[in-house]
């Protein structure tokens, strides 16, 4: 565990050309991911925290220190912010060796302390054998480790990483995901990273900040955001792709067109307004061959099957009902069911997995 976690509090309002970015979140956790589609402004938030772009309005605090406060005209330069920054392409200094890259941010005097720290990091990152190589002689994974070591060398209060895995091949990603997850404990530093990949956000972070078109949708613990997004827009971004309009709220079920949806727990009285919308994650819908004769089971026709190798994304239609539903199902299970596009089957939705938007 981190002994003295540095709480990061960010409130920013920033205009670049025609792009308006607004975000407001606090984070105090081991790995926080800013997640959203490309062009949402994720990297810009990172750069604003690092002091590389200046917001028009807002406050950025890290622990006890105010890095930026527009009203009080506080704007620490990047040099004074005590944070590590790893951009997407790593930005290793091409004319310096691996050891020189890592030593760059360590105070040069006393000299033995600088050497000591550099040697330590080379060892920790398993780079000792490459100390005298140039960055362009390294593999992608090694380059990332150099960038990490360089950012960690001055012992920053937080590590900012922009799309840490985007530049790597698939085979490397899994291995490096595990390495990234271990950073907060190995180096006693929290990590704020940016990613456009839901699976990366999911596997790396314990806290999420959801960003869409420059606007922050939601921030909080990962599981809460994944299961209970506050708006349909946030829901779509976190992969809760089935958004259903509800036509009426009854005593203990929801009227969805001609069908009844049972939810658990039962909807609150104050939720019984007209424009109720619910969300269901695609992996929460079970596909079956025969009618299970249980609550929330419906006949469907399989429309489309997209094969991702380990899992399939299916589109199914309940007769006379819109919208079509998306299901994610492991490959072996679909093989066992033997269903193909055009076939008829059944789905069953766990009442506890139906999320009613507030």
């Amino acid at each position: 565990m981190i002994n003295t976690p540095h709480k990061l509090a960010v409130t920013i309002d920033l205009m670049i050309e025609n792009f308006h970015l607004q975000a407001n979140f606090q984070a105090q956790d081991e790995i926080i991911a800013i997640f959203g589609p490309s062009g949402a402004g994720k990297s810009t938030i990172l750069r604003a925290i690092a002091g590389l772009v200046t917001p028009q309005q807002g406050i950025i605090r890290l622990g006890e220190q105010t890095l930026f406060n527009a009203q009080q005209k506080i704007n620490l330069p990047p040099q004074k912010r005590n944070l590590g920054y790893v951009p997407q392409n790593y930005a290793l200094f091409p004319h310096l060796s691996v050891a020189e890259n890592i030593a760059y941010g360590v105070p040069r005097h006393p000299r033995h302390a600088n050497r000591q720290r550099t040697r330590e990091l080379l060892e920790l990152m398993q780079l000792t054998a490459f100390a005298n190589r140039r960055p362009d002689e390294l593999s992608g994974g090694q380059q990332q480790r150099v960038a990490l070591a360089r950012a960690l060398a001055p012992q920053p209060a937080i590590l900012l990483m922009d799309e840490p895995l985007a530049a790597l091949e698939d085979s490397l990603r899994q291995k490096l995901r595990a390495e990234l997850r271990a950073i907060p404990q190995r180096f006693h530093v929290p990590v704020l990273l940016v990613t456009h990949s839901l699976s990366e956000a999911n596997s790396l972070a314990s806290q999420l900040v959801i960003l869409d078109q420059g606007q922050m949708c939601q921030a909080g613990p990962k599981d809460e955001i994944m299961q209970r997004p506050i708006t349909p827009a946030a829901a779509r971004i976190v992969g809760m792709s089935n958004i259903l309009p509800i036509h009426a709220v009854r005593e203990n079920f929801l009227q969805w067109g001609e069908y009844r949806l049972t939810v658990s727990p039962a909807p609150q009285q104050e939720q019984a307004h007209a424009a109720l919308v619910v969300g269901i994650r695609p992996e929460a819908i079970r596909l079956l061959n025969a009618d299970p004769a249980r609550t929330n089971s419906f006949p469907v026709q399989l429309l489309d099957d997209e094969d991702f190798g380990h899992e399939h994304r299916l589109t199914v239609r309940i007769p006379q009902q819109q919208p079509d539903l998306e299901i994610r199902i492991p490959a072996p299970e679909l093989t066992r069911l033997g269903l193909r596009p055009g076939d008829k089957g059944y789905i069953q939705i766990d009442p506890a997995s139906i999320h009613i938007f507030p």
Partner: protein
């Protein structure tokens, strides 16, 4: 023949050096500062590229003559810049300066901003970053600019003639000596001197090409 050549080499080398020092300093300042005044300064540096050399030489003559405050002040310090070879250095430096700043700036601006951003988050001051990252990565472009400045200074004629005049053995540089030879009808001398300058120009051109080609073909990281 050797006197104009030696004088030209001395003037061109000193001018290139002065243009290099000011050009690199300006490139650093212009890359780090923002504001209207810096834009104006940027424009002013480039004025000699479009201004007719005689006009530039005329302005320098007025500014540095003993009747102007600047010229009088320099004169009191014992520095005489009109009708001296040092004056030719001033003219050639002013003409050569934009070549250094342009080339240096193009090289500096081609450095990915991320490198400089990371360096700043690592706690290094802007000038330290300039010395440790910017210059080592941009040196070929800077050097190409300095070689161009040397070439331009070697061929400087109009502004030099205006401020330094045509005093054989004292301010008569190669291009002026050629003009002098043609005026005097000494075709053989004019030919010799012209060939000499042509040879120098070819050598300089090749070295510029070698420097700038290396920039273009520097291996890109995938």
């Amino acid at each position: 023949m050797t006197l104009p050549l030696l004088l030209s080499l001395r003037v061109a080398a000193l001018s290139a050096l002065i243009a290099a020092i000011f050009g690199i300093a300006l490139a650093f300042l212009l890359a780090n500062k923002q504001g209207v005044l810096w834009h104006l300064l940027d424009g002013l540096i480039h004025l000699p590229m479009v201004l007719p050399p005689t006009v530039l030489g005329y302005y320098l003559l007025i500014a540095l003559s003993q009747r102007s405050p600047l010229g009088a002040w320099l004169s009191n310090l014992g520095i005489h810049l009109t009708f001296t070879w040092q004056g030719a250095v001033v003219a050639a430096s002013v003409v050569a300066l934009p070549l250094v700043t342009q080339s240096a700036r193009a090289a500096i601006e081609s450095i990915p901003a991320d490198l400089l951003h990371v360096a700043s988050t690592l706690g290094r001051a802007p000038f330290a970053i300039f010395l440790t990252i910017t210059l080592p990565l941009a040196w070929r472009g800077v050097l190409a600019g300095v070689v161009m400045a040397f070439a331009r200074a070697l061929g400087e004629f109009g502004a030099t003639l205006m401020i330094a005049g045509n005093i054989p053995g004292r301010t008569q540089t190669l291009p002026i000596a050629i003009y002098d030879a043609v005026q005097a009808g000494e075709a053989a001398r004019a030919n010799q001197l012209s060939l000499l300058l042509t040879g120098a120009a070819i050598v300089l051109l090749v070295s510029i090409r070698l420097l700038t080609n290396r920039i273009a073909s520097r291996p890109q990281r995938s």
